[in-house]
Symmetry: D2
Subunit: 323 residues, 4 copies
């Protein structure tokens, strides 16, 4: 159609369950309001390689319940420097994009900002399992990752209880302890180690395990965030000092996949809808957020200015409840 | 222990996944702060029958991940009249309860109010899968019920797609369409029928199914809330008019059970903690709520004054995305 | 390719989880051995309508874990009479099929036999959740259907225990009680009603429920096979006579869908492989079976001659274990 | 009761999902036939420590669906030498055991044999996730472990596909590749490495990955059995040689836990029943097996004489289907 407006969509950075639901929402909302919709493949890389596809309503059928991203994702080092950013922005203009929705984490938002600075109308959607997007109370994928971690820990607990072992389970989260805190509290973990609070360490954990033995607890569960790491060494040290057989399990990429939960499908759908709505209103440089239990949006520069505040209550209440 | 303060806890009304996590949180928080904890069995009925048990930290071990409620629940008609309420309040005083946590739905909160009016310090926690507690943005059990419904619908869709049928699926929710709206949006349902909006009816649905056939859709999914009902008749009518084979499934009590999701365990744990905290502060007549993405509390009378506002956006966006 | 041999594959009758894994196995085995592979859509109907598609290795990518059948399925009344069977056989010859794999239940095998009688080389694969294919110890879909039923019953039990109710759960199985017996035994049901044994009836069940109350059991689970039906009436009658609140749930088509279990993927893969192997050997009229724990095959006429023998031990042991 | 006969039951070695179902079946069958039932805790260790408990019908309520073993399990070095075996047998006589059911793997059966040689009537039940009990076509826990592995691999695949990575997943199985072969075939793995066939090695896998790239496959899944190990190194080497990003995940003890599948509950229930039946018949030294699709039994010495034969067909067919 001559003169029809065009919106593109891409997923970037580590994938997260719910990204497909977000793509579906962006594409169908755009089509509903008369836009031509373009999928950019492999994140920003698709802008360099010109790897784009037309998206119809049926292109996103039967994808909402699938993990991963049908548009694929990749790291894209070229997007780190100004020359690359220039080329990417030039391509957006060349194909006539009136807007671009970027679904991803922190790093992806930096790419979005760079494109916005070059005149591309962008709208970000927070998509990362880590819940480490400071400006938003929710990021797509978190709920699925937590439930996957929790279910895996439940299985590990079965066997650890039978053998009266100490289980050390390492969950995702490099810079942010949210997955570990949630997995810990919802699994009744005796301890949780996260980067935000270094006062929980090997020594304090061993003391706790010994105290628990005194209380008659024959099984201990320690959840360790990826950013702390060293779970195999921790298990070994607990066993060496206490004599209690200890085993480490690193859940790893397992937590990135799987069918998204209802919460992830809902947030992804609503955020996708809002992103298109923002671009339709002529916004040029926004990110959709979830704040005070409602969908809202922020300028990308404002988003970066938000500092995360670590709330110790989740940890403290978890400890009281896992007595 | 002479003079030790006592807090009781009961679950009332229809059970909801996460009630056990709430009981665990109430009991362990109370114990942590030095209270003697009492479990009241079978809801308010336990106050009439004197059916109470001491709760220790180990009484609530290994229950967080289980559906149902270890304290059992029951309807209690005696609690409806003043004489019954007097007796229940008298029993609370007789056994020296300094506070009582009541986990349940709307009806349970009325019982709580009646006890408060008779000098029992009460604190309510919203526990019902229906999300129909007007004052709170969350009620324990909703997330599990939605995920259970969504997973069941996914299975039904597999077979309906293979047979190119129209599926009518009835989900829980007598007075409130939240479960239906969420199940519908997260399953990509073509239509959702809820009590809040009677403009969606058999006639409009049949029109939609016929229009969908015109667009090449060979499968339709209609989600119907329990409060609307009549799904078997609806399926029959669709088949009669359109000639498309149609089948109804009533999910029923299936959605009440199952291991609670992470969201339900988290809310239940946090609300249980807050309820005890409120009683410790000397509050006499409160309900814990979730509002603007945060835990808060209200006077029970204030809670009843809140009117639900039906937000049609969820329905509208669901329709746009299920095109 | 000039002169390349061709094998077709279709799914017929009620769909079953694992049918896609069987299609994948048939197609890729055929391709591996140099055949051209043809998918026939909507069961035998595709032979009347000429609705066939070329199948490549990639046509069956990413389908093994999905419920339903990508080739669709339908009832086909035309296949019931000789004229229809003539036309279907003529089409098979017209497109040059050197063999046809038919995945389905009892009825589908009759269609297969009719084609074989008209000179089409056929090989049947037992695909039905009901395990009512007398000649084979396994039929594709049974394990998934049983696990789905068992998981649903587990959820229903949570809520029934909390309310101290009697639960009546109706599972699939029109002529065959295998699903009910397995769901019953693996869920610890107090009673199972199946068509094979009419000595279990409303009266005997009510006696059992009353006896169980005497033993202190506050919850009863009754599994009813679809072929018996009447679960709502049964629940009502139990409640009327015993005063114990009773509820019926009809699982219905839920059990037909869902990702196939490992057992279903394995059997489907092996049976699909064997079917092609049989056609390659020049067999004309066989059905793959599972017998004495091994894959084998029978002439279709021999298959029909096998009479099912109902083994009461499963029921009896289930009763002893559910004491 | 004066003169009542007694049967004991213990679980030994690595735990397996379904052990609880087997304990339940043994206890309730024994009670049904008038025996006094004794649970021995922590495997053979309970015989040394006199750690035994009376088991009633209600002692095994609500356990069939739980992973692990309520009787706990432990390695027991004392049982390795004759002196220890003497003591254990003496304890069995001291408490008047007329029979002892031993649920566990290969090692546990050696313990059983030693007790039998000292006049204790024993009956073994094969309980190990590895399916490495040569004499039986099934060992309790295998089906659950395979489904757990398969589900985890499905999640890993989601994210690996989005990133176009090569995934190396290490599953359980020290001496036996059955779990790996089943997980591989049911997940469509491109390669499976097991101890039974050393011709699949790093070099052959890298060749395969390169060939797959040539065919347009952007994702590869390699399943490695625990007995081969080295999955992290394998992933690194694949990445080094091919340039394709590769990641290893070690599923570990995750596969030991979780609610048992229907197959595991059924086998455990039937084997538990048969074990008691054998002891009732006066058998002194048997093991229950599953052979040719039926429950049967063997003398323990005969059981040890059975040599496993590795059947390469499962691997070969898996390769053809994962083309």
């Amino acid at each position: 159609m001559e003169g029809q407006k065009k919106i593109g969509v891409l997923t970037s950075g580590g994938d997260a369950p719910g990204m497909n639901a977000a793509i579906r929402a962006v594409v169908r909302t755009g089509l509903h309001f008369g836009y031509k919709m373009i999928g950019v493949r492999r994140g920003f890389d698709g802008l360099f390689k010109g790897d784009v596809v037309d998206m119809q309503a049926r292109s996103v059928s039967d994808i909402m319940h699938r993990g991963g991203t049908i548009l694929l994702t990749a790291r894209c080092p070229e997007m780190m420097d100004a020359a690359g950013q220039d080329r990417a922005a030039a391509f957006c203009k060349e194909i006539g994009l009136d807007g671009l929705v970027i679904i991803g984490g922190d790093g992806s938002l930096h790419g979005a900002e760079a494109l916005a600075a070059r005149g591309v109308n962008v709208c970000g959607i927070p998509g990362t399992i880590d819940l480490d997007f400071e400006c938003s109370e929710y990021t797509i994928g978190f709920d699925t990752a937590v439930n996957t971690g929790m279910d895996a820990i439940n299985k590990i607990r079965d066997t650890s209880c039978s053998h009266e072992r100490c289980s050390v389970v390492e969950v995702m989260g490099r810079n942010c302890g949210q997955i570990a805190l949630w997995c810990g509290l919802t699994s009744g973990a005796e301890e949780v180690m996260i980067v935000e609070d270094r006062s929980v360490n090997t020594e304090s954990i061993i003391k706790q395990v010994i105290a628990n033995r005194g209380k008659g607890k024959t099984h201990n569960l320690i959840v360790v965030a990826e950013g702390i790491g060293g779970s195999a060494a921790l298990a070994k040290e607990i066993q060496r000092v206490t004599g209690i057989e200890s085993r480490a399990t690193i859940l790893g990429h397992l937590q990135r996949g799987g069918a998204p939960t209802a919460v992830d499908r809902m947030h992804a759908s609503m955020m996708g809808y809002h992103a298109v709505e923002l671009l339709m209103k002529g916004e040029k440089n926004r990110v959709v957020i979830y704040k005070d239990g409602k969908y809202a949006d922020l300028g990308i520069d404002e988003a970066f200015a938000v500092r995360r505040v670590y709330d110790k209550r989740l940890y403290d209440i978890g400890k009281i409840l896992a007595v």
